[in-house]
């Protein structure tokens, strides 16, 4: 079967800094892939490019058979707004800082996009939102505003909001990095449930190594804009082949403090 995501020699530069250099990467339909690696290694950039939040300069990228660059496309994205709209129909994203809309209730945060973008009827969208809120365990908060929720609750709403658009690919950009340690578990629980869905392709950038090992089909270790090593989580964590991977894993797993805590202090 064709991969749902295909990066082919993709190069991404921020000014003089090359973040991804001739990057090649494929993800199969329904695969759950975790991207790990030190800060600035390009793993978040991969997600942001897929979400069309960042353009890339060279190479080929396609998602579900749709190439990101349009033939003869203009502007930094080398594609029209209409084309980008088509690509985004298949992708959703969960951000590190939740990014809920503060002026909308929890329910409206979830209902707004299906109604405005997918032209779904409001009552239909609301019943779907209700279902999603029950799934993330926050139905009783539907009329609250984001500011009235804890970080963990906000992130669960953000996951429901992304799912309401029925994406084929869901991207998680460090979904628990901004949370207090005691709130991490509830968000990971929701993501763990989602990982059971066979049709949903998931890309997860995280520093939660134990969690990555548990939910992913494949772990990719990033360093300096390249995938240095990738494979089955059990193998990669228990027996890393590359010295860089070993170094990275021992730096975060070898310490007595929980992995999350040690990484949170890295600026």
């Amino acid at each position: 079967m064709n991969p749902i995501i295909r990066f082919e020699n993709v190069t991404k530069r921020f000014g003089a800094l090359t973040v991804l250099d001739n990057f090649n990467f494929e993800v199969a339909r329904g695969e759950k892939v975790t991207l790990i690696g030190p800060s600035g290694s390009g793993k978040s950039t991969v997600l942001r490019i897929l979400m069309t939040l960042e353009p890339f300069q060279e190479g080929h990228l396609e998602l579900d058979g749709i190439p990101y660059h349009e033939p003869g496309g203009h502007g930094p994205f080398k594609a029209s707004e209409k084309h980008l709209h088509k690509i985004r129909c298949n992708v959703g994203m969960v951000f590190q800082s939740f990014n809920l809309f503060p002026h909308m209730t929890v329910l409206r945060n979830i209902v707004e996009a299906p109604v405005a973008v997918l032209k779904m009827k409001r009552d239909e969208a609301e019943s779907r939102a209700t279902e999603l809120l029950r799934m993330v365990g926050l139905y009783d908060k539907k009329d609250h505003f984001p500011s009235q929720l804890s970080g963990g609750q906000q992130q669960r709403v953000a996951i429901a909001r992304a799912l309401a658009m029925r994406p084929r690919v869901l991207l998680f950009d460090e979904p628990t990095s901004a949370l207090d340690p005691q709130l991490v578990g509830e968000v990971l629980g929701v993501i763990r449930d989602l990982a059971q869905e066979h049709d949903l392709t998931m890309l997860l950038v995280t520093h939660e190594m134990r969690f990555a090992r548990e939910v992913s089909d494949r772990v990719c270790f990033f360093d300096k804009g390249r995938i240095v090593e990738q494979g089955d989580p059990e193998l990669l964590f228990s027996n890393p082949q590359q010295p860089r991977t070993r170094e990275f894993l021992s730096s975060i797993l070898g310490e007595p403090a929980p992995a999350r805590e040690s990484l949170r202090r890295v600026p």
Binding site: L53, R88, F101
Partner: protein
């Protein structure tokens, strides 16, 4: 003549001052949103037109603008009555300053909000009106309050294109009675009362907008 006899003409003038001020605040607000949004647009032509308008009206004195519209424009065949000229000029000036307020507030909406909107596939105009604007409007209110009061005080200049506003009536009264102290004190009190009403209205609108739990951090500022 006692000071109570000064009141009827001054009140008549005050009425005109209030009319001109309210009309030009309303029209100015519309212009401010139009030009402010145009400035943040990626359309270079729209943004360019808005830029030229803002720079021109912010960079020239109101009095000269009034004279230009009242005395110079008729020379190329376009003329308006004094009240229309006054409202038009003040609207354009208030709109130019307001446009910068609108632009600044729109730019202050966190970039992460726009990324979330993009990830949910909202169109640009939907993002502007339903995500950015509701958050930006609250930030605009204090500056709009200042502009409204500035606008009221600026209306005093329309007396110089023969509009019988509060300042004009005060001048006439003083010329008749030579009682400068009483007339100008009453005039100051008159402007102050109108300004106070404007401040209260703006505060009320701001409170209304901030009400509710959506923006708790700014609730008491």
């Amino acid at each position: 003549m006692t000071w109570t006899q000064y009141l009827p003409p001054l009140l008549k003038g005050a009425q005109i001052t209030v009319t001109i001020s309210l009309a030009s605040i309303a029209l100015g607000a519309i212009l401010a949103f139009a030009a402010g949004i145009a400035r943040t647009s990626s359309n270079r032509i729209l943004s360019g037109i808005a830029f030229v308008y803002i720079v021109l009206f912010r960079g020239t004195p109101l009095l000269v603008q009034l004279f230009w519209f009242y005395y110079a424009l008729p020379l190329i065949g376009i003329s308006f009555d004094p009240i229309t000229t006054g409202i038009m000029t003040l609207s354009l000036l208030t709109g130019a300053f307001g446009a910068e307020v609108v632009r600044g507030a729109l730019l202050s909406v966190p970039h992460t909000q726009l990324e979330a909107a993009r990830a949910l596939n909202f169109s640009k105009s939907y993002t502007l009106w339903h995500i950015s604007m509701p958050q930006a409007v609250i930030e605009m209110m204090p500056a709009f309050g200042n502009l409204a009061i500035q606008n009221l005080k600026d209306t005093a200049l329309v007396s110089l294109i023969s509009i019988a506003d509060l300042t004009f009536q005060a001048q006439s009264m003083r010329n008749i009675t030579l009682d400068s102290a009483t007339v100008y004190t009453l005039t100051l009190v008159g402007y102050f009362i109108i300004a106070l009403c404007l401040m209260l209205v703006m505060r009320f609108i701001e409170k209304k907008l901030r009400r509710g739990p959506a923006f708790p951090r700014s609730a008491h500022s």
